[in-house]
Symmetry: D2
Subunit: 482 residues, 4 copies
């Protein structure tokens, strides 16, 4: 009687990483605070995670594949003693899915040990890689973080301090990067001049925290202080917090898809509530293409916020409509094709009694390949829904992302191949609407300075030709760690 959907999450765009750092005044355990912070950032990367601590200049760390709850236990955390910590959760967009690529990257350089956690994607990694190799450098991972580490280590040979080395390295790095760096004595946060990826500052008493999102501050008991500004370098040490920011000729370009899908709904990024932005997208959709219907539902979890906003604007009642099995994580056994065609219902299921005979507005956050939407609409119709009107709380993806998400190349984007009407038909929906690019501009209220290149093609930072030709250009000869 009901229907359902598989592989739902797998087909969503993925964020690359989440970063966290803490400089403790002694009242807070850096390792436990980082653990709690990483738990709250887990949605930004579920492939691997790691924590490095620094105890009077001596760095200890633990990194592993898997979720934070899988990779750490109290025995490990208890052994990670120190005054500072830096943590990382990772989903691989570039660089393979291997243990070596887990972060933070811990290494020794001229001034001792450095631990670096990085969220983002360099667009000039290939050029930097070639330059470094020609100077005899060796690379043991395939992550951009190692390139950043070299750039900082080389600057540090002449620079008077680690923060000055970071400052000098920044202009040589192109693309997106939100960094947390732990030197023997200092904790440093840095955000690329465009501010593509979020990064914020919090306080637990006199301890300073850096995190990708404010939800991680909440999770470790920190008060939000402010966001790290694009191009800013923030340093904390025993003398307190200082900040450097070189004037640059670029506009702020925060990834707008953070609001639509990537960030957690309880985070506040650069002053805007993610939940409110999502509800606003729903309200705007309700005005953009009104429809008569009996209920509004959202595809869990990300479509729900927009559905609540749509219901509020349209007056059509909000209902649950679809239930998600939260016990199924990343790994469950895929059915064979034949089983798939018999529509095995595992990850999502329709509430048949609720939807039977009803005209439904269904909110989802985005469409990449289109197959998922088609399956969910079919599931609702199999369960007896009379009409399903599909509303997408973002514009159609038309351009790949080079700044740290895995929005794919045009060949894999359904909106590059088909018209919106065709996508609607392929989805079995009775009507379809994407949030217009104009309305997208309104989800953050009057705020400007965002990157919507995946929708508009307006890339705020230049993309090398070879990347345009091959989005997943890999500067490294493949090294496969089994």
């Amino acid at each position: 009687m009901n229907s359902s959907i598989m592989d739902y999450d797998v087909l969503k765009p993925h964020e690359e990483c989440g970063v966290f750092g803490i400089y403790s005044d002694g009242d807070v355990s850096p390792a436990y605070a980082t653990y709690n912070g990483l738990l709250a950032l887990q949605h930004r990367g579920q492939e691997s995670c790691g924590i490095a601590v620094c105890d009077r200049g001596v760095v200890s760390y633990s990194k592993d594949m898997g979720l934070v709850t899988e990779a750490f236990n109290d025995k490990i955390l208890d052994s990670l003693k120190g005054q500072m910590a830096v943590g990382h959760v990772r989903y691989s967009t570039s660089g393979g899915s291997v243990r070596e690529n887990a972060q933070p990257l811990v290494m020794r350089y001229i001034k001792g040990t450095l631990a670096i956690a990085h969220n983002g994607n360099l667009t000039n990694a290939y050029e930097l890689h070639r330059v470094l190799e020609r100077r005899g450098c060796i690379f043991q991972t395939t992550i951009d973080t190692e390139v950043i580490a070299y750039m900082i280590a080389r600057e540090r040979v002449d620079a008077p301090s680690i923060e000055e080395a970071v400052r000098r390295a920044i202009p040589k790095l192109q693309g997106s990067f939100s960094l947390v760096i732990m030197s023997p004595q200092k904790l440093i946060a840095a955000r690329d001049p465009h501010g593509f990826r979020p990064l914020c500052i919090g306080k637990i008493g006199n301890s300073t925290v850096f995190a990708s999102e404010t939800c991680a501050l909440d999770a470790c008991g920190a008060e939000f202080v402010r966001d790290v500004e694009p191009g800013e370098v923030v340093v904390v040490d025993q003398d307190g917090m200082r900040s450097f920011r070189d004037p640059v000729d670029v506009e702020k370009s925060l990834c707008i898809f953070e609001y639509i899908y990537f960030a957690r709904t309880d985070s506040i990024i650069d002053g805007i509530s993610v939940y409110e932005a999502r509800k606003q997208a729903g309200r705007l959709l309700a005005k953009q293409l009104p429809v008569e219907a009996d209920m509004v539902i959202g595809v869990p979890e990300s479509g729900i916020d927009a559905a609540i906003g749509y219901s509020e604007e349209s007056g059509i009642p909000y209902e649950k409509g679809i239930v998600k099995n939260t016990y199924i994580g990343r790994t469950f056994i895929k059915p064979s094709q034949s089983e798939r065609e018999r529509s095995v219902r595992i990850k999502l299921n329709a509430l048949s009694n609720c939807v039977k005979g009803k005209r439904i507005v269904m909110l989802d956050d985005s469409i990449v390949r289109g197959t998922t939407s088609a399956r969910i609409v079919s599931m609702l119709k199999d369960a007896g829904a009379k009409e399903v009107h599909l509303r997408i709380s973002s514009p159609p993806f038309l351009w790949p992302c080079y700044y740290g998400t895995d929005i794919p190349s045009k060949d894999d984007l359904i909106a590059c191949q088909y018209s919106i009407e065709e996508i609607g038909k392929m989805s079995f929906a009775d009507s379809i609407a994407f949030l217009s690019v104009e309305n997208l501009a309104k989800i953050m209220g009057s705020r400007k300075g965002y990157c919507d290149a995946c929708f508009s093609g307006k890339y705020p930072a230049p993309i090398p030709d070879y990347l345009i030709a091959n989005k997943d250009y890999d500067y490294s000869t493949p090294i496969k760690r089994l």
Copy 2:
């Protein structure tokens, strides 16, 4: 700025088990169908799980601690070949949390191999245990299922068939049991005469499926046929499906807490939609004690359905209000007491922008000890909520449950110690209301025949004195498996 709650799920009442069985016509893989079914029943037990298959009389099985996705992979499932399967997910209410106690219980008896999956709790297990021991029986587990196995095996010495043995054993078993039993040639489902626990029948083409809830039928692609009736024994073999039911002098007594909390919201039990029953509880609460407020929210996940119903009845807008971290399963590291008091926010977090300055009606499903509610209300107030009105979609727990859930003895039930007003104050709520026992009777519409003993003290089946004196009376000398 926000607040949150820990150990949230741990303090909820727990269902004991979920059962599943399939007799395949050859078009369906019994092991994979059972795997999919158990995934959908995972909310009924996350401690251990198992699948047994029967291939022309030869039984293979695999059981392990942990979630279904952890205990099984395609290699294991591929090796579980056969024409029938029986599966089980377990949460231990009685019998320790050890590998030996995982189900299905597979054993050899006079007629070959038997696999038994059991949901429920015998109230005369102690008496049966003593009788059996006095006849030289040995017990290798501490689960009631082993007692049931002995009772059936002993009847089978004289009974002409396994189904007749099950039929003869039923009158000797007191308490709750929904059973799926696999003999070398037959698959049998049986439900105790009170029908305390749910059990339903489905069809995938010509294959027959038994499951605790209809959501498991959906997950394996089966159509719902009907519920197994209280006291009914249903047999499937190569000659098709047959049913036996001895007249008994007891009323149907389905556990009403299945609707309020235990069952999955997309299941339909004994003809009533769980989602609709939960929304109805919300609507009834809105009428029972109206309040002026700006928004209605639900404590995820189970409070959300009632919140939607409350919003519908009251006209007060539904909002998300609280977000749950779904990456945190059963195991995350508990903070020390001092960290707990600093209110570490991990599992749940308030949407501060959403709740700030607002008067909130918050729906939750039940209150056992009261500490959880207090923490959530505090979290909302810390996040700026102006008022929090607590509405509970069930009456106060006043009596322990002996029929297969872990609703504890009176000493641990806050409602046995304090008045409703006191509970409200202890919860920091501005007002509090529990669904009245009269309204509880209306959540299933006009349907009768349920057990609400935990609220009313009216136990439909007799409870031995030693159980009343000690709810967790354990008939076995403790055996600890490390």
Copy 3:
């Protein structure tokens, strides 16, 4: 230049089990003593192991697949507190290789909890099984130990004590059994009336130890006291040690292959040193068929003792000749057939410089299928040996064993198919000799009372026809635990 052999150990006959028990006076940790004892008995079974302890009547236990060092760590041992312990190492000859079959078998019976460790094989298990099933018994394992448990539990209903129940059960059990049994208050050792398997008593101060071999006494710091006599039941409790022995009309029949191969060379069984018996076999072989040669070598490890004896008697120098890779345990990756034919050298390797151009007498303990001997002789010849004279320190296997070892049925015994001369040729040996049955009688000096049925066909206890027809007759419908 050298050659070597694979799968060497796999093709050897296997002992079924080792048992251990301790009743502590409080100065010795029963769990740690048992751990040390089991380490020393590991050669008797490497498939699974377990330890159960009893703390004032409450039994805790831990069992797992694998070696003792793999299955236990200090955290587990620390949690196994108590006054008594019983331990077991297992190699499966009957009953599958599954977790459920690990011992000690811990179960509850009429008088509390019982833990049983068993070494041996019942020849009437099938009959007992049928009788018990007809009385409604259920079986959850496929090991004889469960049958023994039932027999004792049933006797205990009427018997005044556990030791009396054991005593009454013994006459009903046929075949071999060395048992250590832990009841809530007592530790009991029992050996079958034939005394097929060894069992000895030791003391650590006032603590009493039972073990399969004296090497386990050495390992836990115990002094040897005496062997348990065939048919004897020894009980230890707070009142000290007592012994019962019913007169029986059978002769002692200790398995003589314990001396030749199964037991550890440093053990002393029923008064005879295993090392001395093996050396004596070598000396007797030197007299039985003298040969001119340059060196004597032994196939590691068991052939070395006989080689030392042969060298002593013949005056031909002892050399190492072959080295064994001790880092390779049970699990290493098998080469494909083609690689095998290219004679991959992994487990054993010849010392080429040592054997080149030499006439060699090579001692091995036994020949089952003959393939191993052929490979070792070939390896030596490939390494340049001029002559290889094969000497086997036991007679040819002509009869299967039903008393607890896996000496197979006649179809798999090369000596049942071929003459000794043919075996010699098939082994590429320049000459071959097996220890004669007459000389076998002399390896224990003047001692009598052993079982040599595998060589002589003289079975000291009757074997049912269905076992003769099918050595591996399995009374249970196969239950496969994955």
Copy 4:
């Protein structure tokens, strides 16, 4: 009655590493051949191991902590496809015991991917490290191999080929190194100009193999061709094998302790049989200090060969005397001090019947701290030995080793603190003799060119002052990987 010894292996000196490489003609699987080779080299390192393969320029690898049989299975090996492979087993003398330090070190440099396996110890690692750091290099491990990788990568910027880069790097490296290096097209073996560590060449048909010892050639079915010469660079590619060797002004200095203890008894190093060298040491000891005795025994495993030689020379019969429990690997639970003093017998056990009342000559390979010898002698005396005459098949350790073994600094060497007579008394031996330095020179026959610095203090290559002051000088700030 018997006694025994613990922690026996732990107190022995340790070799640092074993290396292996293969360039296949297509008939041999490089991964499986490397697996077999590493199994045979396991005695050179049990801490971690790894295999890297190269498939048309693309490198895959797998490394892990633990034994070869633990770290690899057929699934991993099957996935390691390619034309070449390099493998490594490691025991850490310098660089911590962490996953990052496992070898082969795989990295990308200017010409693609490089995999390096290294046995040895650089004495100028600190200087090189500082120079590289000052040029902006970063270090992710604490092993010398990373320094070597940088040195080669930097030379390769200008050198016309990888082999030329290796050749140019060699003069800049001081200390010991036997290297196997895999570039995208070539397999390269190189040995330091002193030839401290062994390295040999073999052939399987047209496939070329490099290995630390000949026993690894045997294990993978290769024929021995020759040793790599000190200072030689051997290259194999599709054009066959070529060799380079720059004239250097140093003498060959093979570590003589390879013969005494490190190498496997079936290996032939630089033309000398290890077994023969050990027997020769035994013979020389018999002549050096004759004694009247009833039997000669060897401490397993390394003392046995010398015991056989001693028996041969003296005419005193060889006996086993002591048995070693081969099921106990690196990890077994250590008893508390009190248990140790009660002389728990686990790893070694005396054959009491064999040694009782006898005058025994006991051969052991070396004495580091002296505690082990004392325990073994005590164990024999506890078992009834009348006299124990201790004979050590090497001279007293008087100087630490800086060339890749963990022979410790003088503070930990008993022979630096006490006279030989005193050591004899502390060992409870009735007499004691070490092989004299003069006799040591004779164990390799007339061969010259070895390093005996640990006995003589004559270091063939210069040792920096800071290393003399602190043998375990660590150039890296500690990085701890948990």
